[in-house]
């Protein structure tokens, strides 16, 4: 497991928390951005997104390949709101992520959240929040969830036109 390092504190705003939900609940499609240790970037869109506590974003581990491999060797991660882009949700959430997979010790702690808490609430995401709003030519019939990615958010930056890169939190 990764050494977590010193904990940085942010507190997501209610608007940010609203954005970090599935699109069908008024949330967003997000891009999950990672990198291999040797610096090859990856960016992939995700629909199963949620927030927990004041500083965590969650994403389902479904169909992940390079994202999963990258997080196994490098916890540095960003989430950016991909859609909708005209709703004032111009944010990049940056921090350290881990893929809490089934089989983690229940008391495994990632910056103040345990594997049990995460998997009990989000371990059966497809049934909890079925992809009813996903277009039929994009949706999939047999989800294969293997865990939940937990991003401990340490910083938030803007993607607003003219203000890209400005630190918000």
């Amino acid at each position: 497991m990764f050494k977590k390092g010193k904990k940085k504190m942010v507190k997501l705003t209610p608007e940010m928390k609203e954005a970090l939900q599935i699109p069908g609940k008024g949330g967003s499609v997000i891009y999950l951005a990672t990198s291999s240790l040797d610096g090859k970037p990856n960016i992939a869109a995700m629909r199963y997104v949620a927030h927990m506590k004041d500083d965590k974003a969650l994403v389902a581990d479904m169909f992940l390949l390079k994202t999963k491999m990258n997080l196994k060797e490098n916890p540095e991660c960003s989430i950016v709101i991909a859609h909708p882009i005209d709703a004032g949700r111009d944010w990049v959430f940056k921090g350290k992520a881990i893929d809490i997979e089934y089989g983690f010790p229940p008391d495994f702690d990632w910056y103040g959240i345990t594997a049990k808490e995460v998997l009990d609430e989000w371990g059966d995401w497809h049934n909890k929040e079925p992809p009813d709003e996903v277009p039929p030519d994009v949706v999939y019939s047999h989800p294969a969830q293997r865990g939940v990615i937990v991003l401990h958010i340490e910083e938030v930056y803007s993607t607003e036109k003219g203000k890209v890169g400005e630190k918000i939190l």
């Binding site: 610096g39 990856n42 540095e76 890169g165």
Partner: protein, 140 residues
């Protein structure tokens, strides 16, 4: 054989993208690329504003790899990720980031997730895509 993006890919990429470049500590740096100057067969020229460029400027000094996906509804409808080496040229106030695409991945959830497509011939790529999707972005 080199990459030739499909017409559908070219049209969706023109709608704007999110770029990811890793810095020297392998930390992902994400920026917007709202303006796409031109889309060639295997190269995209993004016209970045100063603020957009500032996010990835230092990272690009050490690492040319750029990964990108389309912003907005394209993140739902256009299930691809592109990767390539980026090079920056400044012309006055305009910053051109040219990315020569060397890798294309399908990101459609399910059996095609992660499928690498850049090895396909242009005809194969066109046929593969048109079997799944034909929709183009709405004109702005």
């Amino acid at each position: 054989m080199g990459i030739i993006l499909t017409n559908r890919m070219k049209e969706w990429i023109k709608t704007g993208c999110f770029l990811n470049v890793a810095d020297k500590n392998a930390i992902p740096c994400v920026t917007t690329a709202r303006n796409v100057e031109s889309v060639l067969d295997d190269k995209i020229i993004f016209a970045l504003s100063n603020d957009e460029y500032s996010v990835i400027k230092d990272a690009l000094l050490n690492n040319g790899w750029v990964a990108f996906g389309v912003m907005g509804i394209g993140s739902v409808r256009f299930c691809y990720q592109f990767k390539g080496i980026g090079k920056v040229k400044k012309k006055g106030d305009v910053i051109h980031l040219t990315v020569k695409i060397s890798e294309i991945y399908c990101t459609k959830p399910g059996c095609y997730a992660g499928l690498r497509l850049d090895h396909k011939s242009p005809e194969e790529l066109e046929a593969w895509e048109s079997n799944l999707w034909k929709d183009l972005p709405k004109k702005k």
